[in-house]
Subunit: 334 residues, 2 copies
């Protein structure tokens, strides 16, 4: 609040700082143990007024990876499932795809051959399914798809294949004055249409990979067109860049599950050499539950967790053992 603003405003605004009181266990889907204690201990420490570890609410920035951290990423990333469905839906308008890779293999249901072309194939699919339309058209496509598409093995809408313990964690942090952000390698426009409903995270708190945009006037109507050119890959070393670009503050808590999150965790917890001694917290969700979810790490084709797992002990990062630490995985069906 600026001191130049009329006094009445300052007083009123201070009256808005309501303090929530939490009754009962805010994290019922987390089993008691050191992992849960690490989280609640950190939050208690930094929110206690007068404590040397106190962090003022404005600085309580918590960033969450999405794929594998907030929702399931097996057997394939959800956005890839979306892209493949879009290729099928658009195929009637593209007769040439019948003889053109990677589209030919996608339409034949042969994902392995489709992706044999590597990055070039992926970019062609992204260009065909994520570009050449306005952001409003793309948003509607995502909304329509996510409302009906189902996870291939869990047989539930993807928006129900989210982790109940993480939903509780998001709410718990917000109740303690944290601002919760998604910082994902996934597409920013792919997530924004549904993150508020599913995670309570509004569009302006979603950071993700993005393509370039171009303003056009079409029939006197302004449109932001999605181009087939990459703007930011918000993964690995791109995550601190995305954080700086869209948040402009260093997080005090960061949550991930793969090597693609390692730089975000380092950026959050490591000494920057600027004298900042604010307490910081980072957590890795380790997928250890082959029965209720999937068990994967070092050799996985999705959410590979290798270097970050090795780095965790020395870095002081908390590692969730999903099998042991989570009492529940998914929210109840409804």
């Amino acid at each position: 609040m600026s001191h130049r603003v009329p006094m009445a405003f300052g007083t009123l605004m201070m009256g808005l700082a309501c303090i929530p009181v939490i009754a009962g266990d805010p994290l019922p889907s987390w089993n008691d143990g050191p992992t849960k204690k690490a989280i609640t201990g950190f939050v208690a420490k930094v929110t206690k007024e007068g404590s040397p570890d106190f962090i003022k609410p404005a600085d309580r920035i918590a960033t969450f990876d999405n794929d594998g951290t907030l929702w399931a990423e097996n057997p394939v990333y959800v956005q890839l499932a979306f892209a493949l469905d879009r290729v099928k839906a658009l195929a009637p308008k593209h007769p040439e795809w019948k003889d053109k890779e990677p589209f030919k293999s996608i339409l034949a249901g042969d994902l392995k051959s489709a992706l044999a072309g590597g990055e070039k194939s992926v970019l062609e699919v992204v260009a065909a399914t994520h570009a050449g339309m306005s952001i409003e058209e793309f948003e509607k496509t995502v909304q329509d798809w996510i409302a009906t598409a189902k996870h291939p093995t869990l047989k539930r809408p993807y928006t129900e294949c989210v982790y109940q313990p993480m939903l509780e964690l998001l709410a718990y942090l917000r109740a303690n004055g944290f601002k919760t952000y998604i910082v994902s390698g996934g597409g920013i426009e792919f997530m924004r249409p549904w993150t508020e409903r599913v995670y309570g995270i509004p569009p302006e708190q979603v950071v993700g990979s993005s393509g370039k945009l171009k303003l056009e006037m079409n029939n006197g109507k302004p449109q932001l067109m999605k181009l087939a050119e990459i703007d930011l890959i918000d993964d690995g070393p791109g995550k601190p860049v995305g954080i700086q670009r869209n948040i402009g503050r260093r997080p005090v808590m960061a949550f991930g599950n793969s090597d693609g999150d390692m730089q975000m965790l380092q950026w959050t917890t490591m000494d920057h050499g600027d004298g900042d001694r604010t307490p910081r917290f980072a957590l890795i969700v380790h997928h250890t539950d082959a029965e209720r979810e999937w068990a994967y790490d070092r050799k996985s084709h999705v959410g590979k967790l290798d270097k970050a797992l090795d780095a965790a002990p020395a870095a002081g990062w908390t590692v969730v053992d999903m099998k042991k630490d989570w009492e529940t995985i998914y929210p109840p069906a409804h």
Copy 2:
């Protein structure tokens, strides 16, 4: 709020929605008349529950240009003054500048010759003063400069050369549930270090022009280095791009003062062809007060206002006549 979050949380969060009650005139530096009435009438209309024009708080996004809208931009943009001061401060480390344009002319105090090289000269100055360092180093440089530098004719810190009526407007909108953003052609990292203190706008609500960033490990410390390559020019057609990138929602109110804001105002108020009929509001600050501030528009070298002024009546944009509408220009000195 997700319906999957434990019930206790949902109830608690609802209890947080405190409604501020404003006593007296929230805009005392605005003279009574149609301009002030247009602002307060719009806000009253869209915040009245049950009204067909009601806008839910989450959608109350208000975007403000900075130079010429929130603070003075004459005789030169503040960021240019900063860059020139930086060239002088860095000159001892760059003996070659004595014979190299545009630095030679800058050091001789000849701004006109310095800028004769056009965009190329500007980019060279930006590269020399805004790149090649970490974001933390740059932030500290800005903080040190802005704490001591003074406006050449007003003889006050630049952060006091802000418009009192706009400070009141920012506070008034926030008190009515609006989220206030800066969307400026100025550099994002140049603004973020002081906007919270001066305008009550936190770093994550500042959108601006930016250079590319690169994550580096220097002596085991993660650093985001500022590169000399442009990432986004957040001006003209770049403003809707910056809004989409960092906010992901279309504003319902937008405030500017120059042709560089025209596309932001159009993006805010014009029909996108998507069926959205939310009421929208846009305002142009017209600098008409040669005595208390500066009078300039169509021919100005800063904040040129020509096309947007012509477009305003048909577009339904409110135009502030600074001389007539503002009872005060700057906040009281202290």
